[in-house]
């Protein structure tokens, strides 16, 4: 062979060098097997970024989930039925005028640096949000009605509100240690990544590598008792297909946000269990019932016919929800009617048989005939000004439902003389257009919390944009005086049963108006390695989710399976890897010999 190495040799060298590290799992595997004897690790795939580790700033679901594990709350939704139970607070009482709340803080809770957790920490957290604008970024609305927060002594916290707040036990605010956070100068830029992060939740954050992984260790001093697992890891995956493959290889133990197709594929895999949970989300078809600003000035360019409740009711009757659940969700969901999903049993409302808008194209056509929208020659109805009933329907490109459901809706509405122009666009574009009232129909969806206050609030008149067109948080410009009165009443109603009735009345009114139509409630689809974990604490129990709960029960209640090995390595034997490297070397050597022989050939041999 010649001394001068050819390009080929270099390439072979590169390939060999790149392949060689396949030895690594052999090496690392041995290491993890050793540690696995003593510790149980739960590995979770995350497909969403972490925007911040600062609980006052973080708004992503993925980050919020982390905060729930790191910091305890004053009260939180229980695992069983999501009703409020004590976290840091062991009991609470309200004054006769319903404006003063007195919480008794437990005295057996400590921060992970052994400092005691007191009422001062809670008061500090809430007051920080009252005083510092940046601290209100994530959860500011919870303190918007607070008059004052005072720690009367180490275990007594007194909060005074300006108006009665039935939602005071649903404060979704992680409590932070005063002795750490009082040193922070600028909340907005504080990254909270000094490891280990001092907290009081069931897990302690010990390592964070952006977009790579997060490591948490079980808090040995957790006041409810330490978790059954020793370590919790979140591994970042950028697409859910890769996360599903990682579950198959055992690189992760738990994935969520699966699609129906992914669940069907995982259903019969040995060692994997599927959790089809009732979801917290509803999916709706929103109309433009006459978009306007807060003071009632019309904005946008919605079709005037949609201001007629009969037109909206006709549309509501022209949608076959059973078909949508079957064809769009693959059966993983429930047909919708009431506004609050059935997973929240206390607040879910179901229309009676005579109220229900059943799928009935004839009835819808009849309703439109009576309402004075005669059918035109081209099969499209016209209104009193001879404007054809032709509606734009917007959907998001990043939500597969919209394209599929959009086709169905277009066909059904075509049957009742309404023409639909389906436009699928980027989510940001859709939000912009609907926010400006420049739409007729649009698909939308919301996640609902155990306390229904917020999701009812987005349907009140005051959520419409201000005079300059900004600052609107309305869902779809619904505005109804009676609805607003009921909304104010339920917020001030401290009797749970009476409040439930008010919330039901609101949903009935909303359903009747058909301003936005709930189409279905999709299931939350999760899967886990049942060969490594026997069970998780779902919320609600039974039938609920493991991940993205309103609480930390899912991870905290993880039960390792009997005799489960700690290391879920994608099993590759070192021998196999060595064989592979051997093959590469042999092939490379052979190629080099061939090349060398060919190089000795002259032009004569070639021709």
């Amino acid at each position: 062979m010649r001394v001068r190495s050819g390009v080929m040799a270099a390439a072979v060298g590169m390939i060999a060098a790149v392949t060689a590290p396949a030895v690594a799992p052999g090496v690392a595997g041995a290491e993890t097997a050793e540690t696995a004897e003593s510790s149980t690790v739960l590995r979770v795939a995350v497909t969403q970024n972490i925007d911040s580790l600062n609980p006052f700033i973080a708004i992503f679901a993925s980050s919020t989930e982390l905060m729930r594990l790191m910091y305890e709350f004053v009260t939180l939704p229980s695992a069983e039925d999501q009703s409020p139970i004590g976290g840091l607070a062991e009991s609470w009482e309200t004054s006769d005028d319903d404006l003063t709340w007195t919480f008794t803080i437990r005295d057996d809770v400590q921060w992970s640096d052994q400092e005691p957790v007191t009422a001062d920490d809670v008061a500090f957290t809430y007051n920080l949000m009252l005083e510092d604008e940046a601290a209100r970024t994530a959860n500011g609305n919870f303190v918007s009605s607070f008059e004052s927060v005072v720690a009367e002594d180490e275990d007594t916290l007194v909060i005074t509100t300006r108006t009665p707040q039935a939602t005071m036990l649903a404060l979704d605010i992680p409590i932070v240690p005063e002795h750490i956070w009082s040193e922070v100068d600028d909340i907005a830029s504080f990254t909270n990544d000094t490891m280990p992060v001092v907290g009081s939740g069931p897990f302690i954050l010990t390592e964070y590598r952006a977009e790579q992984f997060i490591r948490m260790e079980a808090n040995p001093d957790y006041f409810r008792g330490p978790a059954q697992i020793d370590e919790l890891q979140f591994l970042f995956y950028r697409n859910s297909d890769a996360a599903v493959q990682a579950l198959r290889t055992g690189e992760v133990d738990l994935v969520n946000r699966l699609t129906p197709a992914q669940v069907d594929a995982l259903r019969d895999v040995e060692g994997i269990a599927v959790n089809e949970a009732q979801g917290r989300r509803f999916y709706e078809l929103a109309t433009n019932p006459g978009a306007a600003t807060r003071d009632g000035t019309p904005i946008g360019d919605g079709h005037p016919a949609l201001e007629d409740v009969r037109v909206r009711q006709a549309i509501n009757q022209a949608i076959d929800r059973d078909v949508l659940v079957d064809r769009v969700l693959g059966g993983y969901g429930e047909p919708g009617a009431g506004y609050i999903p059935p997973v929240f049993e206390d607040y879910h409302w179901t229309p009676s048989d005579e109220q229900r808008w059943d799928f009935d194209l004839d009835a819808a056509n009849e309703l439109l005939d009576e309402a004075g929208y005669p059918m035109g020659d081209d099969g499209v109805r016209v209104d009193g000004d001879d404007r054809p009933l032709s509606f734009r329907l917007y959907g998001r490109s990043d939500r597969a439902f919209d394209t599929q459901a959009g086709e169905f809706v277009r066909n059904w509405l075509g049957e009742i003389g309404i023409e639909v122009d389906l436009q699928i666009m980027a989510g940001t574009r859709l939000n912009e257009l609907t926010g400006d009232g420049v739409y007729d129909l649009a698909f939308s969806g919301w996640a609902v919390n155990p306390d229904p206050d917020y999701v009812l609030g987005i349907q009140t008149c005051g959520q419409r944009p201000g005079a300059d067109g900004t600052g609107g948080t309305t869902d779809a410009f619904f505005c109804d005086e009676e609805f607003d009165e009921l909304y104010a009443a339920q917020l001030a109603e401290f009797d749970p049963e009476a409040r439930r009735q008010l919330v039901a009345d609101m949903q009935e009114l909303f359903y009747e108006q058909s301003s936005s139509m709930t189409l279905f409630y999709e299931n939350a689809l999760e899967a886990y390695r049942s060969d490594r974990f026997a069970s998780f604490q779902v919320q609600p129990d039974p039938g609920g989710v493991i991940r993205e709960q309103n609480g930390y029960w899912g991870y905290y209640g993880a039960q390792p399976a009997d005799g489960a090995a700690g290391g879920g390595e994608g099993g590759v034997s070192t021998g196999m890897v060595l064989a592979g490297i051997g093959a590469v070397v042999v092939l490379g050597g052979g190629a080099a010999v061939l090349i060398a022989r060919r190089r000795r050939a002259t032009a004569d041999d070639r021709e």
Binding site: A11, V18, A24, A28, A242, T249, G435, A603
Partner: protein
């Protein structure tokens, strides 16, 4: 990836018009190229601001959707991001910021954009760099062999395979590679991780860390090489074919040189010129080309950061990544321009 500009250099421009040889012409040539690059960069900075201002969507609206916020909170956020200022004022703030080397603070991550970019810059360089080196070596080698025996079965196979791989969607190919080599199909065991750049369970120490990263690098690297090597192969093949008819090769053969030497010493160096240009033009674009691969293999790089920022839109982050990515293209174009003058004797000669 294929919209590559030809080098702006034509033979005529390179001739020193005043007939002076060497120094002065070279300095002027280099100076003019650098000035051109600086002009482009200034345009990039100006464009960076206005380009993303036309994106639909209100960042504050996107960030507050699905959470209870009061109109006051929305106003506070707009004020914090400076979105309540008139556009000219926002533009001036941005401009002075860039000139100071301050790219602003990301809306979403509440961290300086330069930190975020620095964090994700090296993973991308590692992936795109190693893939480019491999693709160039492979492309040149296959292209040379194909051209030398053009029409042979080897040529047909190599060209066919390369063009096929070049045409398949990166995302699809990546998922196939992931299924076969990470999960395992039939007799093939899963040998590589399904994603990421490191494992949390790697023992401490430099050598395990390097092995771990390399182990994670294999699949994304293979995928990226498979998709891009064809361009180098095709260019090398066609430029070598052009050289093969040349008289000097006949002369070389007539001297009785071994076939291998004729190819290596005479034909390939001349055929390398267009390929080298292409390599440098592509180097600037390769970072953006890594987006798809980064997404499939969850590689924590720059491409992904940009892609996710578009959804908000996170204006400071988009502006920052745009300046970095476009700046890379400008810089590499400059290098290609300068290099060409030194590589090609015909450009130097006057």
């Amino acid at each position: 990836m294929s919209d590559v500009l030809a080098p702006s250099e034509s033979l005529g421009d390179a001739q020193d018009s005043e007939g002076r040889s060497g120094g002065g012409g070279l300095v002027r040539y280099v100076a003019s190229k650098i000035a051109g690059a600086i002009t482009s960069l200034v345009l990039v900075i100006l464009l960076g601001f206005f380009l993303f201002r036309v994106l639909p969507g209100d960042p504050v609206q996107t960030m507050t959707r699905g959470r209870a916020v009061s109109p006051e909170q929305i106003a506070e956020l707009r004020e914090r991001f400076g979105l309540d200022l008139p556009l000219w004022q926002q533009f001036l703030d941005y401009l002075f910021g860039v000139l100071r080397g301050d790219l602003g603070v990301s809306y979403f991550y509440s961290r300086p954009v330069s930190d975020l970019i620095a964090e994700r810059f090296w993973p991308t360089v590692l992936l795109a760099g190693s893939a480019t080196i491999l693709a160039v070596l492979l492309g040149i080698w296959l292209g040379t062999r194909s051209a030398w025996r053009h029409g042979s079965r080897f040529d047909k196979t190599a060209t066919g395979v390369a063009l096929t791989l070049w045409s398949v969607p990166t995302f699809w190919l990546g998922l196939i590679v992931l299924m076969v080599f990470a999960v395992g199909v039939g007799p093939i065991p899963g040998m590589f991780p399904t994603g990421g750049i490191t494992s949390p369970d790697t023992p401490p120490g430099v050598i395990p860390y390097v092995l771990d990263v390399a182990h994670h690098l294999v699949l994304p690297c293979i995928t990226m090489v498979a998709v891009i090597f064809a361009q180098y192969q095709m260019v090398m093949r066609s430029s070598l074919l052009e050289e093969m008819g040349a008289d000097y090769l006949t002369t070389a053969r007539a001297k009785g040189l071994r076939d291998d030497l004729v190819r290596r010493r005479h034909a390939v160096p001349n055929a390398m010129l267009p390929t080298v240009t292409l390599i440098f033009l592509h180097l600037g674009l390769v970072v953006s080309g890594a987006i798809m691969v980064e997404t499939v293999f969850s590689w924590p790089g720059l491409g992904l950061l940009t892609y996710q920022a578009l959804d908000v839109p996170d204006l400071p982050l988009l502006q920052g990544t745009f300046i970095v990515l476009a700046g890379a293209v400008v810089a590499m174009n400059l290098v290609a321009d300068l290099l060409y003058r030194f590589l090609d004797p015909r450009v130097r000669a006057s």
